[in-house]
Symmetry: C3
Subunit: 261 residues, 3 copies
């Protein structure tokens, strides 16, 4: 699997996929910079007039529910349906699902468009499957506790489900990966998880096995976080972007802390 | 009062309050990072479907009028009314009030929901009370000139009013504090004042005396600015976030330049 | 011409023009910081209720089509018409024009309000004049190839047209300038081109010859990029903001790589 991570990063850099992001207003800038720094081509198109057409020609699509509004939710429905219809991989990040009723319903309806990857924290994954969700956007559950729900979700919708936490768990309903890279400061910068969703969409554009794509994107971001300075969240975020642009496929394979369960 | 500032920072860090931000599109990212760096838990929920429900469970709420749109203004009305009804402290930052008619009317109507704290520059505070306002978002008045208006506003609505400037004046209509920390570079980075509104909401969640909460938040941000490097606005903003994560309650009390009038 | 660039920067810094930005959600923060760092006064007012009134009192207006929504497009039409009617210079940045049908039509309609400056990459300039446009927001054409279209556009609408690329071409339909400053890392940070549009609006507020204004803004940003560290896109963006605040008019004239064709 380590070798496959290296190949996934190589493919991502070589193809520089167009990553169509429909994401929240807090993290648009950081998300675009994470995708750019690592070698992809981000574009935010989140109006109902253009979302479907753009998703059809994108390499991958991210739908993130951090700050939904009626018009962007309409665009998300259109983009994800178009992605499904055109065989474009798409990632659902159900930010706050479980804790907030409206977006939980939106997220559940988006599942019908069969996301390639669902990415969230434990509370959000549990929230998608009927749990009560966390406090705001932070998880109140451990990722271990969400693993059964993640596996069921993966099987029901043919998705890879990624549950973030100190250890990240990824499953396609059959295989389970546990990823151990990363540092605590990642939780003190807004949008690290949200940006990961965009990276996953980009990697899925370049690597057919979505479990490998999601694992490679996660490992790349976590390794960059390990390389960034630890003097505080400001310089950490800056160094994270720098590191994303320099980590090689070989280093990704060498330093990945990954276990197949 | 210096001792109370230290206790307020301690309480903020210990409780890590959920800060519900309805703010402008320019500063969402920086605001979230300021709250996170200092120890709070930001969440931006600015749609009419969820704003009231989320405000009810938040620790504090920020309403910032920097880039109002019809749908976010609707959410702001709902969130602030819900905050008032549920005893959740909320902060009104009437960006541009006085200078722009629509948002001035919106701001005046929001006052009916009795903000715990009103935070603005001198032009905005004067604009809220019938003055003509500044040029765009920058003040054309000194904070000293707005002090009488601030005191009247505080008495009329039972609010703490904070007027930013080289010296920051804070009043609950009776007590007046003058805060002397800070550096000029704070005006060359967008969103420093806007982020302060979110910090005030977070501190008010943890400290019942809103005047103390507002003073502690202001002093923390100004001290972090004093500690940040002064090579230019880019590295200054990065260092500001780093410093927010390391300033201790003791340092806050020691270094505060605060005078009770 | 080198002397005129220096005078343009001097005028910009002396007058600190109010730059009214209606721009995309990805780059609002970076755009505001670029304008602030270089010495201007940015304000984002993109609702239909206030856009016309604010444009009338602004120094310059930017309309950027990166993430259009129905309500912001309405505001853009009102702001640009008001700018035209009040003799306020305004800049059109038709992000994605040619590639995306809805915004292409929006951009073409905005041309009727006779932008002072049109700024885009080659694909976007070709897209405005009937070409097919690029992949997302990145150009698939060279700026040289767009020069004829740029000249025609400039003549038809009385605009200066700026085509970004490794060499930037600027024309008012008669004169042509080729600008050679800049570094490749500018394409690995989101919003550098978008922020340039705002700088152009600010410079045009202070310098009547829009070709000179556009050239000075471009050279300032490119020089700042040359001065910024090259360790990665994160620290590069930070250093770019620092450099914008320190580059002097003399240095601008000395270091400009500019050729009149």
């Amino acid at each position: 699997m380590h070798e496959q991570l290296a190949l996934a990063l190589e493919a991502y850099r070589r193809t520089s996929p167009l990553v169509h992001c429909l994401t929240n207003t807090v993290v648009t800038n950081f998300t675009a910079n994470v995708v750019l720094a690592s070698g992809g081509a981000p574009a935010m198109v989140d109006n109902p007039q253009e979302a479907a057409g753009f998703a059809a020609i994108a390499g991958g699509v991210l739908v993130n529910l951090g700050t939904p509004q009626e018009h962007t939710v309409a665009a998300m429905g259109l983009a994800s349906a178009s992605a499904r219809d055109h065989g474009v991989p798409w990632v659902l990040d159900p930010v706050g699902a479980g804790g907030l009723p409206w977006r939980t319903q939106v997220a559940v309806e988006l599942l019908d468009n069969r996301p390639t990857i669902v990415r969230g924290n434990a509370s959000e994954v549990l929230g998608l499957t009927g749990g009560s969700g966390g406090k705001g956007v932070d998880s109140t559950e451990t990722s271990e506790n969400a693993l059964a729900a993640a596996r069921a979700l993966a099987q029901d919708f043919g998705s890879v489900v990624a549950v973030s936490g100190p250890t990240d768990y990824l499953t396609d309903g059959h295989r389970v990966l546990a990823l151990g890279n990363g540092v605590e400061l990642m939780t003190r910068v807004t949008g690290v998880g949200c940006a990961l969703g965009a990276l996953m969409a980009g990697f899925a554009a370049a690597t057919p096995d979505a479990l490998v794509a999601a694992a490679a994107a996660t490992t790349l971001l976590c390794l960059a976080a390990e390389e960034a300075p630890k003097n505080g969240p400001g310089s950490f975020a800056v160094g994270l972007l720098d590191a994303l642009s320099t980590i090689t496929p070989d280093k990704l394979a060498d330093r990945a802390r990954l276990e197949e369960r």
